[in-house]
Amino acid sequence: MLKYTVKRVLLAVVTVFIIAAITFFAMNAIPGGPFDKEKAPDPAVQAVLEARFNLDKPVTQQFIIYLGNLLHGDFGISLKTGREISQIIREKFAVSAKLGGMAAGFAILFGLILGSVAALCRNRWPDRVIIFLTTLFVSVPSFVLATILLLVFALTLKWVGVFSTTNPNYVLPVISLMLYPMSYITRLTKSSMLDVLGQDYIRTARAKGVREGFVIFKHALRNALIPVITYVGPMIAGILTGSMVIETVFTIGGLGTEFVRSINNQDYPMIMATTIFLAVLMVIATLISDLVYKLVDPKITFD
C-alpha cells in the first residue's frame, strides 16, 4: 500500500508539473507580449515593465520563476482587473466549492439509491423509468438543461427563486450541475450491482439463509460500491468544468464564471492561473479516489 501510495503521489506531482509546463509554454507561444496590446508605452517604460515581470529573461528561466511563485501562492496579476489572482481565486472559489460540493454530495447520494433500486427492480417499471431518465440526462448538454430548468421553474412557474447575490438560491444550479454525474453514478451502480448479484458469494449468502435485505445491503452493496469510487475523481473534474457552464447560465459569481470571462477577455495570466488551480484540484481528487479504491477493495493485492 505504501509503495502504491508513493507511486501514485509521484505520478500526481509529475502530472501537476506537466500541466504547469504545458500551460505556461502554451501561453508563451501566443504571439505578442502582455504589454503589446495596451497602448504602446514608450520603450523605456516597456523595458522596465518587462524587467519587473521578468519578461526579459529566457522562457525557461521565466518558467522556473513562475513555478516558484506558484509554490508561494503567487498566481500573478489579472490583466483586466489588475487584482491579485490568488485573491480572486480564493474569493470566487468559495462560491464554486459550495455549489460543486452540494452537487457532488447529492449526485452520489441519489445516484447510489437510484442505481440500487434499478438493479433490484431489474426489467420492471422502476428500473425502466430510472434508466430512461438517466439516459436522457446524460444526453442533454448541461447548458441546455440549465437554461430549460431556469426558464421553466424559475421564470415561468416561479417555483424557485432566481439566483442573485442578495438571495442566493442554489436549488436550480445544484440540480443542473448534479444531474449528469448523478445519472452516471446511477448507471454505474446498476451495472455494478447486477454484476455483484450474479457473483458466487451472493449465492453462498443466500444458501446460508441470510435474509434478502441483508444479502443486498451487507453482501452486495459494499462490493458494488467499489467501482463507483473510481468515478468520484472524474466526477469532481466534471463538476468543476460543468460549473463554468452552470455559473454562467445562472449568473453566479464563482470561479467558473471568472474563467469563462477571462477566456473571452483573453486575460492570459488569469486563464493560466485558473487552469493550473483547477487542474491541481482534479489531480488531487483523482489521487484520493484511487487511493480510497485501493483501501476498500481487498481483492487487489498491494504490490
Binding site: 457473483q199 458466487d200 458469494y201 453462498t204 443466500r206 446460508k208 462490493n223 477493495d297 481487498p298
Partner: protein, 337 residues
C-alpha cells in the same frame, strides 16, 4: 418403512431464456436416507447443479421449479414461505460450491462470514459464535485458526477457502450437506484432502451428503448410491459397485470408458462423441440417442422408462429391453430345435 429424510418427486426446473424454455431438470425422483451419501454424476449441463439449487431453492432468475415436490421429513419445501425457506437453508441443508475462490465475499473476513451463519441459525451470542467458528475451523483442519478468522478470503489458498466453506456449511450441523463439485476447481492433491475431510466429517457428524460431480472416479468409494444424469433426466441409478462393474445404460458405459482406470488394460480412453442435446428443444425418445453407439430405431421415438435391473440397480435404456428380447428369441430358437 420410515419416510426418507429427503424425497425428490418428479422435480422439473426450467429457465426461460430468449430462445425458449430450457428444461434443465426434467422430472427426476430420488430419495436420500439419513446419514447416507448420494452421488449425482453427469457431464456439464446435465442438470446436476440445478437439482442441487432447486433443493436449496437458490435458483436465480430466470430459473424456477415448474413441477414436482421436494419433501424434507415429509414436508414439501417447494411450498415453503420465504421465511421458512431462510430457516431451512443453512440450518437443515447446507451447500458448498464448486469454486471456493469466488464463493466467499471478498470484503468480509472469514470470521465475519462464519459467524453470520452461526448467528442466523443458533441462539449463540457473538462470543459463543466466535468460539464455534474457531472450533469449526479446527475441525476442518485449517492451520492457525485464530489468525484465519481475522483474514480476508484473498489471503487464503483455494484449498483453505474450500475448508472454510465446509466449516461454514457444517457450522449449524445440517441434516444434509450438498457438495456441488467441491473439488473441481482444486489441485489434485488438495482434491484428495478435501474428499478425505468430507468423509471424516460425515463419519463424525452423521449428516447425509449429496455429492455432485462430473468425475465418477472421485466419488466411487464414498457413495452409498449413485445417480447418473443426462439432459435433465436420470438414466441410471444404483450402488457404486453396480454402476461401476455392471453399467446398464449406454451413457454410463461411455462414461466408464472415458475415465482412466487401473484395473483394466485399456490402451486409451474412449471419449463420448458429440455434444449434449439442446435443452430448449428436446428430441423425442432417448436424449442420448444421437450420441449412442448402439442406437436403435425405438430410441429415436420413445422415451425409455426406468426399469429395475436388480434390487440395487435401475436403468432407463432400451438396450436392456432388447437384451431380454434377444435372449428370449434365442431361447425360443433353442426350444424349437
Amino acid at each position: 418403512m420410515s419416510t426418507p429424510l429427503l424425497q425428490v418427486k418428479n422435480l422439473c426446473t426450467s429457465f426461460n431464456v430468449d430462445s425458449g424454455e430450457v428444461r434443465a431438470v426434467n422430472g427426476i425422483s430420488f430419495n436420500l436416507e439419513k446419514g447416507k451419501v448420494l452421488g449425482i454424476v453427469g457431464e456439464s449441463g446435465s442438470g446436476k447443479s440445478v437439482t442441487a439449487y432447486s433443493i436449496m431453492r437458490i435458483l436465480v432468475e430466470p430459473g424456477r421449479i415448474t413441477g414436482g415436490q421436494i419433501l424434507f421429513n415429509g414436508e414439501d419445501i417447494v411450498q415453503y414461505s420465504r421465511k421458512q425457506m431462510r430457516e431451512f437453508r443453512g440450518k437443515r441443508v447446507s451447500i458448498i460450491f464448486q469454486d471456493p475462490m469466488t464463493s466467499l465475499n471478498p470484503v468480509y473476513t472469514i470470521g465475519n462470514q462464519l459467524r453470520e451463519a452461526i448467528l442466523l441459525h443458533t441462539d449463540r451470542n457473538r462470543e459463543q459464535a466466535n468460539a464455534r467458528a474457531l472450533e469449526m475451523l479446527q475441525l476442518v483442519g485449517v492451520n492457525e485458526p485464530e489468525k484465519r478468522l481475522k483474514q480476508y478470503p484473498y489471503e487464503l489458498s483455494g484449498g483453505m477457502r474450500q475448508r472454510v466453506m465446509i466449516a461454514m456449511a457444517l457450522a449449524c450441523e445440517p441434516d444434509i450437506l450438498i457438495a456441488d463439485e467441491p473439488t473441481t476447481a482444486l489441485d489434485v492433491t488438495i482434491q484428495a484432502q478435501i474428499l478425505e475431510l468430507m468423509q471424516e466429517l460425515q463419519r463424525k457428524m452423521g449428516m447425509a451428503i449429496i455429492m455432485i460431480t462430473h468425475d465418477l472416479g472421485v466419488i466411487a468409494d464414498m457413495c452409498d448410491e449413485i445417480i447418473v444424469m443426462y439432459a435433465g433426466r436420470i438414466c441410471e441409478r444404483g450402488t457404486a459397485d453396480e454402476i461401476f462393474y455392471n453399467p446398464r445404460h449406454e451413457y454410463t458405459k461411455g462414461l466408464m470408458r472415458s475415465i482412466p482406470r487401473l484395473d483394466t488394460n485399456h490402451a486409451r480412453l474412449i471419449p463420448i462423441a458429440g455434444s449434449p442435446v439442446d435443452l430448449t428443444n428436446m428430441p423425442k425418445g432417448c436424449a442420448f440417442a444421437s450420441r449412442c453407439d448402439r442406437c436403435m430405431k425405438i430410441c429415436l421415438t420413445e422415451l425409455p422408462e426406468e426399469l429395475d435391473i436388480n434390487d440395487d440397480h435401475k436403468a432407463a435404456c432400451w438396450m436392456n429391453v432388447k437384451q431380454v428380447y434377444d435372449e428370449a428369441a434365442a431361447e425360443k430358437e433353442a426350444e424349437s430345435k
